[in-house]
């Protein structure tokens, strides 16, 4: 799994060179092959809703009324805000997601900070430090 994640990280590091049509399969193959059952034993938060499979690495903070899954991977030290819904999405390590986000079929690069609220997006690579939607580095696929 780790090697595949590193490969995906490398692919999204050059988002302008990505072949968009490959991205849905890249996500699907990752989840089909590596995230078959949930790994949700350790997180900091108050009983979110999980639809299998969801894989959480170490030291992840999850807000209130959050729905994760199916097909979610979240890297270490990431923070998920309140009222967030995420499905079919890879979030790399050290990411911050604001309140009331809905992410579907997305890949969020490591160290991304989405420090704003109320945002719905699908089929995208997201990265950067953003205090509003305008500041977001977004690459649709």
């Amino acid at each position: 799994m780790k090697r595949n994640l590193e490969k995906i990280k490398e692919i999204i590091s050059n988002p302008h060179e990505i072949k968009k049509t490959n991205m849905p399969n890249l996500l699907k193959n990752f989840f089909d092959k590596y995230i078959k059952i949930s790994h949700i034993e350790k997180y900091i938060g108050d009983y979110p809703t999980f639809i299998e499979p969801v894989y959480l690495e170490e030291n992840i903070k999850i807000g209130d009324d959050v729905l994760l899954g199916p097909n979610v991977y979240i890297g270490a030290n990431s923070e998920i805000g309140d009222y967030v819904e995420i499905s079919n999405t890879i979030i790399f390590e050290d990411v911050i997601i604001g309140d009331n986000f809905n992410l579907e079929n997305c890949i969020i690069a490591n160290n991304t900070q989405l420090s704003f609220s109320n945002y719905r997006i699908k089929d995208c690579i997201l990265r950067g430090l953003a205090n509003s939607e305008r500041e977001l580095e977004k690459f649709e696929f």
Partner: protein, 238 residues
């Protein structure tokens, strides 16, 4: 899926009780609550159509914790899994205990941990089936979160809803939960192997179910001995 359907589905959210709403937003809370109920029904109908289109039989299994939902499903899945491709969705506040039990009988399982929610809703089920190729399945069972109250708020779009109670819950359990029995196709009264010892008034339970819902089928079972499981499966059309 159309954009409108997407928006309809997105709107599903649990709401605070209208009794707690301050006067100035009470109307808004009531309108939103009504909208949520409509939204759940829209999604449930979409689920139902998707399952029908793919010839998948589907059942929503409801009952209190310890009534025997999982034990009965273990019997049914054991009998079906060699002939049919079975998917079982298990709803629980937390843990994977039920899914692990059912998986031993060769069915694919998906656990939903609802956290603070006391029932599965159509949105949860839609999130699962939109990520599955329904052509790969013949039968889907949904084992709802264990209680007899909250699931009556949310239909899930299945062919049939089956409510399971046990005689250990006392002979008043059906009378005290009319909503769920009104919305169910089959009432199962389980643990009849304990009838002699407990002296529960089984006839009252059967009559209560029929009085609340004259169209309901009633079957008494023992998941422990397997008694009448075949009869239940016949009523389910399996």
């Amino acid at each position: 899926m159309t954009d409108k359907e997407e928006i309809d589905i997105y709107r599903i959210k649990e709401l605070e009780s209208t009794n707690l709403a301050p006067d100035d937003i009470r109307d808004l809370v009531i309108q939103t609550k009504k909208q949520v109920e409509r939204d759940n029904d829209i999604i449930a109908e979409k689920i139902h159509q998707d399952l029908l289109k793919n010839n998948v039989k589907s059942f929503d299994i409801v009952g209190a914790i310890g009534a025997g939902k999982t034990a009965i499903l273990e019997h049914i899945v054991e009998k079906l899994s060699s002939r049919y491709k079975v998917l079982v969705v298990c709803g629980d506040i937390t843990t994977r205990v039920d899914a692990n039990r059912i998986e031993k009988h060769n069915a694919e399982t998906i656990q939903i941990n609802t956290g603070r929610e006391c029932a599965l809703n159509a949105y949860h089920i839609h999130q699962i089936i939109k990520n599955k190729n329904l052509q790969n399945y013949n039968i889907i069972f949904i084992e709802n979160v264990g209680n007899l109250i909250c699931p009556s708020e949310f239909i899930l779009g299945t062919d049939k809803r089956i409510t399971i109670v046990s005689i250990t819950e006392g002979e008043w359990v059906i009378e005290k939960h009319p909503m769920l029995f009104k919305m169910s196709n089959i009432a199962v009264i389980n643990k009849i192997d304990l009838l002699e010892r407990l002296g529960t008034d089984l006839d009252k339970m059967i009559n209560d179910a029929r009085e609340i819902n004259p169209n309901i089928e009633v079957v008494t079972t023992s998941a422990k001995t397997g008694e009448n499981i075949d009869k239940l499966m016949n009523l389910m059309g399996l």
